[in-house]
């Protein structure tokens, strides 16, 4: 076993990416994720990799687009406003079915917003973000260890499905330090026969392009892509269940919100309230089945989030609105306290708020 070290979440992402074989990082600094770029700037030159601080976020994502077309592992990272700038590139990556890895360490918005933690880019991430019909795989770590393990998973899923995977974290997850254990990563062989690597006059050209002017061809591509998404929705949803077996009330929360909610749930259990939590680890594909199953016995759901009611919509959809779902949220860089979550649990237990 590797030695446990204390690392910031941002640094854990960077080191895990290197372990996963990523040798190309393009970015532009923005709080609260700059440690990823700083780490890459230090490490990449020593291991024959590329660290490049681009002139802008738009440039950085297009550099990612270029390397992704060659089939090499590549990543960028940013925070909310920077991800908006990168959204055009994310759409192009999707249109070309290219594997890429993107990190969003969210801060409060909209606009330039603030620099404190937030989860308000949930819709943007889970619905694609850019224009056109597409999805990214969206992973939501709730510990520094998961910042690392989901980075490795993210690269693998990207290669497996030729899709962009995104880590959706928040300022707290990026800045906090916890013990993390990193060991060697075995990367499976993925088919890269589609990559643009030079034909050496031995094969047909591979063409990477997102422009398709013939409508029925473009329609076919979209249908095919959604067939792939169906497989992902079938195979890849992940969640953690905490004290759900006998729970009358289920809290839905991810990332830092789930950490806070856990404290509240432990406290509520001491007061004999049967409450548990489903913590989505993949936000897309959303663990719909787990919520749907839970709704057969649970009476009330609570969405704890650092946004104005975004996660709650997926919870309502997953349980097909068969149970009341209440919102417990703070925004703008504020984080609900365990006491606030406990209040929401108590209200739900008394059958209040709906």
């Amino acid at each position: 076993m590797a030695e446990k070290v204390l690392m910031k979440g941002n640094e854990a992402i960077a080191e895990a990416a290197i372990l996963a074989g990523c040798r190309h990082y393009f970015g532009y600094p923005i709080t609260p994720q700059t440690e990823i770029a700083a780490y890459m700037a230090k490490r990449m030159p020593k291991i024959g990799g590329t660290f490049l601080q681009a002139e802008s976020e738009v440039a950085a994502i297009n550099m990612v687009y270029g390397v992704a077309a060659t089939g090499k592992r590549v990543m960028t990272s940013s925070s909310s406003p920077g991800i908006s700038l990168k959204s055009e590139g994310l759409s192009y990556l999707a249109g070309c079915d290219l594997p890429a890895f993107v990190v969003n360490v969210e801060r409060g918005g909209p606009g330039l917003g603030g620099i404190q933690p937030s989860q308000s880019d949930y819709f943007q991430a889970t619905r694609g973000g850019g224009h056109g019909d597409y999805h990214m795989i969206v992973l939501a770590p709730a510990s520094v260890q998961e910042m690392a393990s989901l980075t490795i998973k993210g690269f693998d899923l990207a290669d497996k499905y030729r899709i962009t995977s995104m880590i959706l974290a928040d300022g707290t997850m990026g800045q906090m330090m916890e013990p993390v254990e990193l060991s060697e990563v075995k990367t499976p062989d993925y088919d890269k026969s589609w990559a643009v690597t030079g034909t050496k006059m031995q094969r047909e050209h591979n063409i990477i392009n997102s422009l398709t002017l013939v409508p029925d061809e473009l329609e076919k591509q979209n249908f095919a892509r959604y067939e792939k998404y169906k497989i992902i929705e079938e195979n890849e949803p992940m969640c953690e269940k905490f004290m759900t077996e006998d729970a009358d009330i289920i809290v839905a929360a991810f990332g830092i919100a789930a950490r806070v909610a856990k404290n509240a749930i432990v406290e509520a259990r001491k007061q004999d309230i049967k409450v548990g939590m489903i913590r989505p680890i993949t936000l897309w594909p959303f663990p719909k089945k787990d919520f749907f199953e839970a709704a057969k016995t649970a009476k009330h759901f609570i969405s704890v989030e650092l946004s104005m009611g975004q996660l709650i919509e997926d919870v309502e959809l997953a349980i097909r609105c068969t149970r009341p779902v209440t919102l417990c949220n703070r925004v703008g860089g504020m984080i609900p306290s365990p006491a606030e979550v406990l209040d929401a649990i108590k209200k739900a237990n008394e059958g209040g708020d709906k």
Binding site: L6, T172, M176, P179, V260, K262, N263, P338
Partner: protein
């Protein structure tokens, strides 16, 4: 089984985050669960800085501390901001060189440590932060001075290795302060 939630607060530049790293690494060496969460952003540059450290024998839920068991206050604004957040029965350790006032509560134990003066007199430069950490690990019996040396080795980067001895002496001075 115990959990200690520690809030260290002061001006940016007083070594608040470094002090927290020392505690967190010491906890890690002792195989405890630990989390370290800094304030970040513009306040780091000359304004107030603080850092949340949790040491526990159980998995840690939220890394955010709103009711600390222990407040380490390195300046007056930090003391005034957080003194009433400390849980009853908790501990406040303050730098009495920089804080010329007393704590009004009688349900917490307060340690007045003239850390800045001790650092100046002892030749420890600006290491008031580590003197206060020394006091903290003396107050909590489950922490103690053991592994302080190993933890410092982890948190002081190799290029600043010459600072190791003085940091250790500062921790010891705080530990032995009555």
């Amino acid at each position: 089984m115990s959990t200690t939630q520690i809030l260290i607060a002061g001006f940016g530049g007083q070594g608040v985050l470094f002090a927290g790293k020392f505690l967190a690494n010491k906890g890690l060496i002792e195989d405890r669960q630990v989390s370290w969460l800094p304030s970040y952003g513009p306040e780091m540059r000359g304004g107030t800085a603080n850092c949340n450290v949790i040491l526990s024998d159980e998995p840690i839920g939220s890394p955010i501390i709103d009711k600390p068991d222990c407040l380490v206050a390195m300046n007056l604004p930090s003391l005034r901001k957080y003194e009433y957040d400390v849980v009853p029965g908790g501990v406040i350790i303050l730098d009495s060189t920089l804080i010329d006032e007393t704590v009004d509560r009688d349900d917490v134990t307060v340690y007045y440590v003239p850390a800045t003066k001790m650092a100046r007199d002892g030749g420890f430069g600006s290491l008031a932060n580590m003197i206060l950490m020394g006091k903290l690990i003396a107050v909590y019996e489950d922490m103690g001075i053991k592994n302080a040396e190993q933890s410092l080795k982890k948190v002081i980067p190799p290029r600043k290795a010459e600072l190791f001895d003085v940091n250790l002496k500062a921790v010891e001075a705080g530990y032995n302060f009555e």
